[in-house]
Symmetry: C2
Amino acid sequence: MPKDRRRFTREDPDSRKDALIRATLSLMAARGPSAVTVRAIAEEAGVTQGMIRHYFSSKQDLMNAAYQAHMQTQTEMSQATHDSGGGTARQRLARLIHASVTPPVAEPMALSLWAGFIHMVRRDSAMRVTHEKTYLHYRDLLQVMITAAIAETGRKVSTDEARSLAIACNAVIDGLWLEGGALPDAFDSDELSQIGLRSVEAIIGLSLTGERA
Amino acid sequence: MPKDRRRFTREDPDSRKDALIRATLSLMAARGPSAVTVRAIAEEAGVTQGMIRHYFSSKQDLMNAAYQAHMQTQTEMSQATHDSGGGTARQRLARLIHASVTPPVAEPMALSLWAGFIHMVRRDSAMRVTHEKTYLHYRDLLQVMITAAIAETGRKVSTDEARSLAIACNAVIDGLWLEGGALPDAFDSDELSQIGLRSVEAIIGLSLTGERA
DNA sequence: CGAGTAATTCTGCAAGCGTATAATTACAGA
DNA sequence: TCTGTAATTATACGCTTGCAGAATTACTCG
Protein backbone atom coordinates (compact mmCIF):
# COMPACT_ATOMS: atom_id res chain seq x y z
CA MET A 1 0.00 0.00 0.00
CA PRO A 2 1.93 3.02 -1.17
CA LYS A 3 1.13 5.94 1.09
CA ASP A 4 2.75 8.67 -0.95
CA ARG A 5 -0.25 10.93 -0.71
CA ARG A 6 1.07 14.41 -0.04
CA ARG A 7 0.74 15.99 3.37
CA PHE A 8 -1.21 19.17 3.82
CA THR A 9 -2.37 21.61 6.45
CA ARG A 10 -5.80 23.14 6.60
CA GLU A 11 -5.84 26.84 5.96
CA ASP A 12 -8.57 29.35 6.31
CA PRO A 13 -10.69 29.87 3.21
CA ASP A 14 -9.61 33.46 2.61
CA SER A 15 -5.91 32.74 2.38
CA ARG A 16 -6.57 29.76 0.11
CA LYS A 17 -8.75 31.83 -2.19
CA ASP A 18 -6.12 34.54 -2.15
CA ALA A 19 -3.40 32.09 -3.11
CA LEU A 20 -5.47 30.81 -6.02
CA ILE A 21 -6.21 34.33 -7.21
CA ARG A 22 -2.57 35.36 -7.00
CA ALA A 23 -1.53 32.24 -8.89
CA THR A 24 -4.07 33.01 -11.60
CA LEU A 25 -2.84 36.58 -12.03
CA SER A 26 0.77 35.50 -11.99
CA LEU A 27 0.24 32.98 -14.78
CA MET A 28 -1.89 35.30 -16.86
CA ALA A 29 0.69 38.07 -16.63
CA ALA A 30 3.71 35.91 -17.29
CA ARG A 31 2.49 33.42 -19.86
CA GLY A 32 -0.83 34.61 -21.24
CA PRO A 33 -4.40 33.32 -21.13
CA SER A 34 -3.63 29.95 -22.68
CA ALA A 35 -1.30 29.10 -19.81
CA VAL A 36 -3.99 29.67 -17.21
CA THR A 37 -5.20 26.10 -16.74
CA VAL A 38 -6.62 24.64 -13.56
CA ARG A 39 -3.59 22.39 -13.21
CA ALA A 40 -1.11 25.24 -13.67
CA ILE A 41 -3.00 27.45 -11.23
CA ALA A 42 -3.04 24.70 -8.62
CA GLU A 43 0.66 24.01 -8.99
CA GLU A 44 1.51 27.70 -8.78
CA ALA A 45 -0.60 28.00 -5.65
CA GLY A 46 0.95 24.88 -4.13
CA VAL A 47 -2.26 22.87 -3.95
CA THR A 48 -4.01 20.26 -6.08
CA GLN A 49 -6.49 21.10 -8.74
CA GLY A 50 -9.51 20.02 -6.77
CA MET A 51 -9.18 23.14 -4.65
CA ILE A 52 -10.28 25.39 -7.46
CA ARG A 53 -13.69 23.87 -7.66
CA HIS A 54 -13.87 23.59 -3.92
CA TYR A 55 -13.46 27.32 -3.41
CA PHE A 56 -14.92 28.58 -6.67
CA SER A 57 -17.91 27.27 -8.55
CA SER A 58 -15.92 27.05 -11.79
CA LYS A 59 -12.70 28.18 -13.36
CA GLN A 60 -14.55 31.13 -14.85
CA ASP A 61 -15.68 32.11 -11.37
CA LEU A 62 -12.06 32.20 -10.26
CA MET A 63 -11.18 34.29 -13.30
CA ASN A 64 -13.81 36.83 -12.36
CA ALA A 65 -12.50 37.03 -8.82
CA ALA A 66 -8.95 37.44 -10.10
CA TYR A 67 -9.95 40.20 -12.48
CA GLN A 68 -11.78 42.05 -9.75
CA ALA A 69 -8.81 41.72 -7.39
CA HIS A 70 -6.43 43.01 -10.04
CA MET A 71 -8.53 46.04 -10.89
CA GLN A 72 -8.90 46.92 -7.24
CA THR A 73 -5.15 46.70 -6.72
CA GLN A 74 -4.48 48.93 -9.71
CA THR A 75 -6.95 51.51 -8.46
CA GLU A 76 -5.51 51.51 -4.99
CA MET A 77 -1.93 51.81 -6.20
CA SER A 78 -2.60 54.76 -8.45
CA GLN A 79 -4.59 56.59 -5.81
CA ALA A 80 -2.53 55.90 -2.72
CA THR A 81 0.13 58.42 -3.64
CA HIS A 82 -2.14 61.32 -4.34
CA ASP A 83 -4.45 60.82 -1.40
CA SER A 84 -1.74 60.98 1.19
CA GLY A 85 0.53 63.96 1.57
CA GLY A 86 -1.93 66.75 1.01
CA GLY A 87 -0.76 69.83 -0.85
CA THR A 88 -2.63 71.85 -3.41
CA ALA A 89 -5.06 70.25 -5.83
CA ARG A 90 -2.54 70.84 -8.59
CA GLN A 91 0.18 69.01 -6.69
CA ARG A 92 -2.11 66.11 -5.92
CA LEU A 93 -3.16 65.89 -9.54
CA ALA A 94 0.48 65.83 -10.59
CA ARG A 95 1.14 62.97 -8.20
CA LEU A 96 -1.83 61.01 -9.50
CA ILE A 97 -0.61 61.35 -13.07
CA HIS A 98 2.91 60.35 -12.17
CA ALA A 99 1.74 57.30 -10.26
CA SER A 100 -0.51 56.22 -13.13
CA VAL A 101 2.21 56.03 -15.76
CA THR A 102 5.09 54.63 -13.69
CA PRO A 103 5.60 51.25 -12.02
CA PRO A 104 4.00 49.46 -10.33
CA VAL A 105 0.84 50.65 -12.06
CA ALA A 106 2.39 50.90 -15.51
CA GLU A 107 4.47 47.88 -16.34
CA PRO A 108 4.43 45.18 -18.99
CA MET A 109 2.76 42.61 -16.78
CA ALA A 110 -0.12 44.91 -15.95
CA LEU A 111 -0.72 45.36 -19.65
CA SER A 112 -0.60 41.61 -20.23
CA LEU A 113 -3.15 41.13 -17.50
CA TRP A 114 -5.43 43.76 -18.93
CA ALA A 115 -5.20 42.26 -22.40
CA GLY A 116 -5.77 38.77 -21.11
CA PHE A 117 -8.98 39.75 -19.38
CA ILE A 118 -10.45 42.23 -21.81
CA HIS A 119 -12.06 39.69 -24.10
CA MET A 120 -13.84 38.11 -21.17
CA VAL A 121 -15.11 41.53 -20.19
CA ARG A 122 -16.96 41.68 -23.47
CA ARG A 123 -18.85 38.48 -22.89
CA ASP A 124 -19.26 38.19 -19.13
CA SER A 125 -21.66 40.73 -17.68
CA ALA A 126 -20.24 40.53 -14.16
CA MET A 127 -16.79 41.32 -15.48
CA ARG A 128 -18.18 44.10 -17.64
CA VAL A 129 -19.74 45.79 -14.64
CA THR A 130 -16.42 45.64 -12.80
CA HIS A 131 -14.67 47.11 -15.81
CA GLU A 132 -17.06 50.02 -16.28
CA LYS A 133 -17.09 50.83 -12.61
CA THR A 134 -13.32 50.92 -12.41
CA TYR A 135 -12.92 53.03 -15.51
CA LEU A 136 -15.61 55.54 -14.62
CA HIS A 137 -14.43 55.75 -11.04
CA TYR A 138 -10.96 56.72 -12.15
CA ARG A 139 -12.25 59.19 -14.71
CA ASP A 140 -14.58 60.80 -12.20
CA LEU A 141 -11.72 61.19 -9.77
CA LEU A 142 -9.75 62.85 -12.53
CA GLN A 143 -12.65 65.14 -13.31
CA VAL A 144 -12.99 66.24 -9.69
CA MET A 145 -9.30 66.92 -9.37
CA ILE A 146 -9.10 68.81 -12.64
CA THR A 147 -12.02 70.97 -11.57
CA ALA A 148 -10.36 71.65 -8.23
CA ALA A 149 -7.00 72.41 -9.79
CA ILE A 150 -8.53 74.90 -12.18
CA ALA A 151 -10.58 76.43 -9.38
CA GLU A 152 -7.39 77.14 -7.47
CA THR A 153 -6.39 79.58 -10.16
CA GLY A 154 -9.70 81.40 -9.95
CA ARG A 155 -11.10 80.03 -13.19
CA LYS A 156 -14.27 78.00 -13.40
CA VAL A 157 -15.30 75.21 -15.76
CA SER A 158 -18.71 73.82 -16.58
CA THR A 159 -19.48 70.19 -15.84
CA ASP A 160 -19.56 69.40 -19.56
CA GLU A 161 -16.20 70.99 -20.11
CA ALA A 162 -14.75 69.20 -17.09
CA ARG A 163 -16.04 65.91 -18.47
CA SER A 164 -14.32 66.48 -21.80
CA LEU A 165 -11.08 67.45 -20.09
CA ALA A 166 -11.24 64.34 -17.92
CA ILE A 167 -11.80 62.10 -20.94
CA ALA A 168 -8.87 63.73 -22.70
CA CYS A 169 -6.52 63.50 -19.73
CA ASN A 170 -7.60 59.94 -19.09
CA ALA A 171 -6.79 59.13 -22.71
CA VAL A 172 -3.29 60.56 -22.42
CA ILE A 173 -2.67 58.60 -19.26
CA ASP A 174 -4.12 55.39 -20.68
CA GLY A 175 -2.13 55.83 -23.87
CA LEU A 176 1.14 56.35 -22.04
CA TRP A 177 0.36 53.44 -19.76
CA LEU A 178 -0.30 51.30 -22.81
CA GLU A 179 2.83 52.31 -24.67
CA GLY A 180 5.03 51.97 -21.63
CA GLY A 181 3.72 48.47 -21.16
CA ALA A 182 3.89 47.44 -24.80
CA LEU A 183 7.38 48.75 -25.51
CA PRO A 184 9.09 48.96 -22.13
CA ASP A 185 12.50 49.61 -23.65
CA ALA A 186 11.43 52.36 -26.03
CA PHE A 187 11.37 55.13 -23.43
CA ASP A 188 13.74 56.60 -20.90
CA SER A 189 12.77 56.37 -17.27
CA ASP A 190 10.62 59.35 -16.29
CA GLU A 191 10.15 60.24 -19.95
CA LEU A 192 6.56 59.05 -20.00
CA SER A 193 5.84 60.68 -16.68
CA GLN A 194 7.14 64.05 -17.86
CA ILE A 195 5.28 63.83 -21.13
CA GLY A 196 2.11 62.93 -19.28
CA LEU A 197 2.45 65.87 -16.95
CA ARG A 198 3.17 68.36 -19.71
CA SER A 199 0.33 67.04 -21.86
CA VAL A 200 -2.23 67.32 -19.10
CA GLU A 201 -0.97 70.81 -18.33
CA ALA A 202 -1.47 71.75 -21.97
CA ILE A 203 -4.92 70.20 -22.17
CA ILE A 204 -6.31 71.86 -19.06
CA GLY A 205 -4.29 75.03 -19.67
CA LEU A 206 -2.63 75.08 -16.30
CA SER A 207 0.80 74.56 -14.78
CA LEU A 208 0.85 71.75 -12.24
CA THR A 209 4.47 71.99 -11.19
CA GLY A 210 4.86 75.69 -10.51
CA GLU A 211 7.07 76.07 -13.59
CA ARG A 212 5.95 77.47 -16.88
CA ALA A 213 6.28 75.06 -19.81
CA MET B 1 -19.93 2.42 -50.30
CA PRO B 2 -21.07 5.71 -48.85
CA LYS B 3 -19.75 8.51 -51.03
CA ASP B 4 -20.73 11.40 -48.83
CA ARG B 5 -17.33 13.00 -49.07
CA ARG B 6 -17.89 16.68 -49.64
CA ARG B 7 -17.33 18.20 -53.04
CA PHE B 8 -14.76 20.93 -53.48
CA THR B 9 -13.19 23.13 -56.10
CA ARG B 10 -9.53 23.95 -56.32
CA GLU B 11 -8.71 27.55 -55.61
CA ASP B 12 -5.52 29.45 -56.00
CA PRO B 13 -3.28 29.45 -52.95
CA ASP B 14 -3.56 33.19 -52.25
CA SER B 15 -7.32 33.24 -51.95
CA ARG B 16 -7.26 30.14 -49.74
CA LYS B 17 -4.66 31.69 -47.46
CA ASP B 18 -6.66 34.88 -47.40
CA ALA B 19 -9.82 33.03 -46.42
CA LEU B 20 -8.00 31.30 -43.57
CA ILE B 21 -6.53 34.58 -42.35
CA ARG B 22 -9.88 36.32 -42.47
CA ALA B 23 -11.51 33.45 -40.60
CA THR B 24 -8.81 33.65 -37.94
CA LEU B 25 -9.29 37.39 -37.44
CA SER B 26 -13.04 37.06 -37.43
CA LEU B 27 -12.99 34.44 -34.69
CA MET B 28 -10.40 36.26 -32.61
CA ALA B 29 -12.38 39.48 -32.77
CA ALA B 30 -15.76 37.99 -32.08
CA ARG B 31 -15.04 35.25 -29.59
CA GLY B 32 -11.54 35.72 -28.24
CA PRO B 33 -8.30 33.75 -28.41
CA SER B 34 -9.71 30.57 -26.88
CA ALA B 35 -12.20 30.26 -29.73
CA VAL B 36 -9.49 30.33 -32.37
CA THR B 37 -9.05 26.60 -32.92
CA VAL B 38 -8.03 24.92 -36.14
CA ARG B 39 -11.44 23.33 -36.43
CA ALA B 40 -13.27 26.62 -35.90
CA ILE B 41 -11.01 28.43 -38.35
CA ALA B 42 -11.58 25.78 -41.00
CA GLU B 43 -15.33 25.85 -40.55
CA GLU B 44 -15.42 29.63 -40.70
CA ALA B 45 -13.35 29.55 -43.87
CA GLY B 46 -15.54 26.85 -45.39
CA VAL B 47 -12.82 24.21 -45.68
CA THR B 48 -11.61 21.26 -43.64
CA GLN B 49 -8.94 21.54 -41.00
CA GLY B 50 -6.24 19.89 -43.06
CA MET B 51 -6.00 23.07 -45.14
CA ILE B 52 -4.41 24.99 -42.31
CA ARG B 53 -1.35 22.81 -42.20
CA HIS B 54 -1.34 22.55 -45.96
CA TYR B 55 -0.97 26.29 -46.42
CA PHE B 56 0.79 27.17 -43.17
CA SER B 57 3.50 25.27 -41.38
CA SER B 58 1.59 25.39 -38.10
CA LYS B 59 -1.31 27.12 -36.42
CA GLN B 60 1.13 29.61 -34.92
CA ASP B 61 2.36 30.40 -38.41
CA LEU B 62 -1.19 31.25 -39.43
CA MET B 63 -1.57 33.42 -36.35
CA ASN B 64 1.52 35.39 -37.30
CA ALA B 65 0.22 35.92 -40.81
CA ALA B 66 -3.15 37.02 -39.46
CA TYR B 67 -1.58 39.48 -37.05
CA GLN B 68 0.55 40.97 -39.77
CA ALA B 69 -2.44 41.29 -42.10
CA HIS B 70 -4.48 42.98 -39.39
CA MET B 71 -1.80 45.51 -38.53
CA GLN B 72 -1.30 46.35 -42.17
CA THR B 73 -5.03 46.93 -42.64
CA GLN B 74 -5.20 49.19 -39.61
CA THR B 75 -2.26 51.23 -40.84
CA GLU B 76 -3.70 51.59 -44.30
CA MET B 77 -7.13 52.59 -43.04
CA SER B 78 -5.86 55.30 -40.73
CA GLN B 79 -3.54 56.75 -43.36
CA ALA B 80 -5.72 56.53 -46.45
CA THR B 81 -7.80 59.54 -45.47
CA HIS B 82 -4.98 61.90 -44.74
CA ASP B 83 -2.82 60.99 -47.71
CA SER B 84 -5.44 61.73 -50.27
CA GLY B 85 -7.08 65.09 -50.59
CA GLY B 86 -4.11 67.33 -50.02
CA GLY B 87 -4.64 70.55 -48.09
CA THR B 88 -2.39 72.13 -45.50
CA ALA B 89 -0.33 70.02 -43.13
CA ARG B 90 -2.68 71.07 -40.36
CA GLN B 91 -5.72 69.85 -42.27
CA ARG B 92 -4.06 66.56 -43.08
CA LEU B 93 -3.06 66.08 -39.46
CA ALA B 94 -6.63 66.74 -38.40
CA ARG B 95 -7.87 64.11 -40.83
CA LEU B 96 -5.34 61.58 -39.58
CA ILE B 97 -6.46 62.10 -36.00
CA HIS B 98 -10.11 61.84 -36.91
CA ALA B 99 -9.57 58.63 -38.87
CA SER B 100 -7.58 57.09 -36.02
CA VAL B 101 -10.29 57.41 -33.38
CA THR B 102 -13.39 56.64 -35.45
CA PRO B 103 -14.56 53.47 -37.18
CA PRO B 104 -13.38 51.42 -38.90
CA VAL B 105 -10.03 51.93 -37.17
CA ALA B 106 -11.49 52.44 -33.70
CA GLU B 107 -14.14 49.88 -32.93
CA PRO B 108 -14.63 47.18 -30.33
CA MET B 109 -13.51 44.36 -32.58
CA ALA B 110 -10.22 46.04 -33.41
CA LEU B 111 -9.54 46.32 -29.71
CA SER B 112 -10.41 42.66 -29.18
CA LEU B 113 -8.01 41.71 -31.93
CA TRP B 114 -5.25 43.81 -30.48
CA ALA B 115 -5.77 42.33 -27.03
CA GLY B 116 -5.90 38.82 -28.37
CA PHE B 117 -2.59 39.15 -30.12
CA ILE B 118 -0.63 41.24 -27.66
CA HIS B 119 0.44 38.41 -25.41
CA MET B 120 1.85 36.53 -28.39
CA VAL B 121 3.77 39.64 -29.34
CA ARG B 122 5.62 39.41 -26.08
CA ARG B 123 6.82 35.89 -26.69
CA ASP B 124 7.13 35.56 -30.45
CA SER B 125 9.99 37.56 -31.90
CA ALA B 126 8.54 37.70 -35.41
CA MET B 127 5.34 39.17 -34.07
CA ARG B 128 7.27 41.57 -31.86
CA VAL B 129 9.12 42.96 -34.84
CA THR B 130 5.83 43.54 -36.65
CA HIS B 131 4.44 45.27 -33.61
CA GLU B 132 7.36 47.62 -33.09
CA LYS B 133 7.54 48.48 -36.75
CA THR B 134 3.86 49.34 -36.92
CA TYR B 135 3.91 51.43 -33.77
CA LEU B 136 7.06 53.36 -34.62
CA HIS B 137 5.94 53.87 -38.19
CA TYR B 138 2.74 55.51 -37.05
CA ARG B 139 4.49 57.63 -34.46
CA ASP B 140 7.11 58.77 -36.95
CA LEU B 141 4.38 59.77 -39.35
CA LEU B 142 2.78 61.73 -36.55
CA GLN B 143 6.08 63.40 -35.75
CA VAL B 144 6.63 64.45 -39.35
CA MET B 145 3.16 65.87 -39.65
CA ILE B 146 3.34 67.71 -36.35
CA THR B 147 6.63 69.26 -37.39
CA ALA B 148 5.14 70.30 -40.72
CA ALA B 149 2.00 71.70 -39.14
CA ILE B 150 3.99 73.79 -36.71
CA ALA B 151 6.32 74.93 -39.49
CA GLU B 152 3.32 76.29 -41.38
CA THR B 153 2.83 78.83 -38.64
CA GLY B 154 6.43 79.96 -38.84
CA ARG B 155 7.53 78.29 -35.63
CA LYS B 156 10.23 75.66 -35.45
CA VAL B 157 10.69 72.70 -33.15
CA SER B 158 13.76 70.65 -32.36
CA THR B 159 13.79 66.95 -33.15
CA ASP B 160 13.72 66.10 -29.45
CA GLU B 161 10.75 68.30 -28.87
CA ALA B 162 8.96 66.90 -31.91
CA ARG B 163 9.57 63.40 -30.59
CA SER B 164 8.00 64.26 -27.25
CA LEU B 165 5.03 65.87 -28.92
CA ALA B 166 4.56 62.84 -31.14
CA ILE B 167 4.65 60.48 -28.15
CA ALA B 168 2.12 62.65 -26.36
CA CYS B 169 -0.24 62.93 -29.33
CA ASN B 170 0.11 59.25 -30.03
CA ALA B 171 -0.84 58.56 -26.43
CA VAL B 172 -4.00 60.66 -26.68
CA ILE B 173 -4.99 58.92 -29.88
CA ASP B 174 -4.21 55.47 -28.50
CA GLY B 175 -6.07 56.24 -25.31
CA LEU B 176 -9.18 57.43 -27.13
CA TRP B 177 -8.97 54.46 -29.46
CA LEU B 178 -8.78 52.17 -26.46
CA GLU B 179 -11.64 53.77 -24.58
CA GLY B 180 -13.86 53.93 -27.62
CA GLY B 181 -13.27 50.26 -28.16
CA ALA B 182 -13.68 49.21 -24.53
CA LEU B 183 -16.83 51.21 -23.82
CA PRO B 184 -18.45 51.82 -27.18
CA ASP B 185 -21.67 53.10 -25.64
CA ALA B 186 -20.08 55.53 -23.21
CA PHE B 187 -19.46 58.27 -25.75
CA ASP B 188 -21.49 60.23 -28.26
CA SER B 189 -20.58 59.87 -31.89
CA ASP B 190 -17.86 62.36 -32.80
CA GLU B 191 -17.23 63.08 -29.13
CA LEU B 192 -13.95 61.18 -29.10
CA SER B 193 -12.91 62.69 -32.40
CA GLN B 194 -13.52 66.23 -31.17
CA ILE B 195 -11.73 65.60 -27.89
CA GLY B 196 -8.81 64.12 -29.77
CA LEU B 197 -8.56 67.09 -32.06
CA ARG B 198 -8.76 69.63 -29.24
CA SER B 199 -6.25 67.74 -27.13
CA VAL B 200 -3.68 67.54 -29.89
CA GLU B 201 -4.21 71.23 -30.60
CA ALA B 202 -3.54 71.99 -26.95
CA ILE B 203 -0.47 69.79 -26.78
CA ILE B 204 1.22 71.17 -29.86
CA GLY B 205 -0.14 74.68 -29.22
CA LEU B 206 -1.75 75.11 -32.58
CA SER B 207 -5.22 75.30 -34.10
CA LEU B 208 -5.84 72.60 -36.68
CA THR B 209 -9.33 73.57 -37.73
CA GLY B 210 -8.98 77.27 -38.36
CA GLU B 211 -11.05 78.06 -35.26
CA ARG B 212 -9.66 79.12 -31.95
CA ALA B 213 -10.47 76.75 -29.07
C1' DC C 1 -8.57 10.12 23.48
C1' DG C 2 -11.97 8.94 20.03
C1' DA C 3 -15.50 10.20 16.64
C1' DG C 4 -17.25 13.28 13.35
C1' DT C 5 -16.60 16.45 9.69
C1' DA C 6 -14.89 19.37 6.46
C1' DA C 7 -10.70 20.32 3.87
C1' DT C 8 -7.71 18.36 0.72
C1' DT C 9 -5.83 14.95 -2.42
C1' DC C 10 -6.38 11.63 -5.91
C1' DT C 11 -8.21 9.27 -9.93
C1' DG C 12 -11.00 9.04 -13.86
C1' DC C 13 -13.76 10.78 -17.73
C1' DA C 14 -15.55 12.81 -21.86
C1' DA C 15 -14.51 16.38 -24.91
C1' DG C 16 -11.53 19.18 -27.48
C1' DC C 17 -6.92 20.35 -28.85
C1' DG C 18 -2.94 20.53 -32.66
C1' DT C 19 -0.79 17.57 -35.61
C1' DA C 20 0.15 13.74 -38.85
C1' DT C 21 -1.04 11.01 -42.70
C1' DA C 22 -3.85 8.11 -45.63
C1' DA C 23 -7.65 8.28 -48.88
C1' DT C 24 -10.03 10.72 -52.34
C1' DT C 25 -11.04 14.12 -55.76
C1' DA C 26 -10.59 17.87 -59.21
C1' DC C 27 -8.21 19.53 -62.66
C1' DA C 28 -4.27 20.18 -66.40
C1' DG C 29 -1.82 18.45 -70.15
C1' DA C 30 -0.74 14.68 -73.43
C1' DT D 1 -10.16 10.56 -73.13
C1' DC D 2 -6.91 9.13 -70.15
C1' DT D 3 -3.27 9.73 -66.69
C1' DG D 4 -0.51 12.05 -63.29
C1' DT D 5 -0.44 15.03 -59.58
C1' DA D 6 -1.41 18.38 -56.41
C1' DA D 7 -5.33 20.08 -53.69
C1' DT D 8 -8.58 18.72 -50.54
C1' DT D 9 -11.04 15.72 -47.39
C1' DA D 10 -11.22 12.38 -43.85
C1' DT D 11 -9.58 9.79 -40.07
C1' DA D 12 -6.73 8.76 -36.34
C1' DC D 13 -3.36 9.61 -32.60
C1' DG D 14 -1.50 11.34 -28.34
C1' DC D 15 -2.12 14.96 -25.20
C1' DT D 16 -4.43 18.38 -22.44
C1' DT D 17 -8.43 20.42 -20.80
C1' DG D 18 -12.30 21.45 -17.17
C1' DC D 19 -14.96 18.96 -14.26
C1' DA D 20 -16.74 15.44 -11.11
C1' DG D 21 -16.70 12.22 -7.33
C1' DA D 22 -14.45 8.89 -4.31
C1' DA D 23 -10.75 8.32 -1.01
C1' DT D 24 -8.03 10.12 2.51
C1' DT D 25 -6.35 13.23 5.91
C1' DA D 26 -6.10 16.95 9.43
C1' DC D 27 -8.25 19.15 12.69
C1' DT D 28 -12.31 20.20 16.29
C1' DC D 29 -15.06 19.16 19.93
C1' DG D 30 -17.06 16.29 23.49
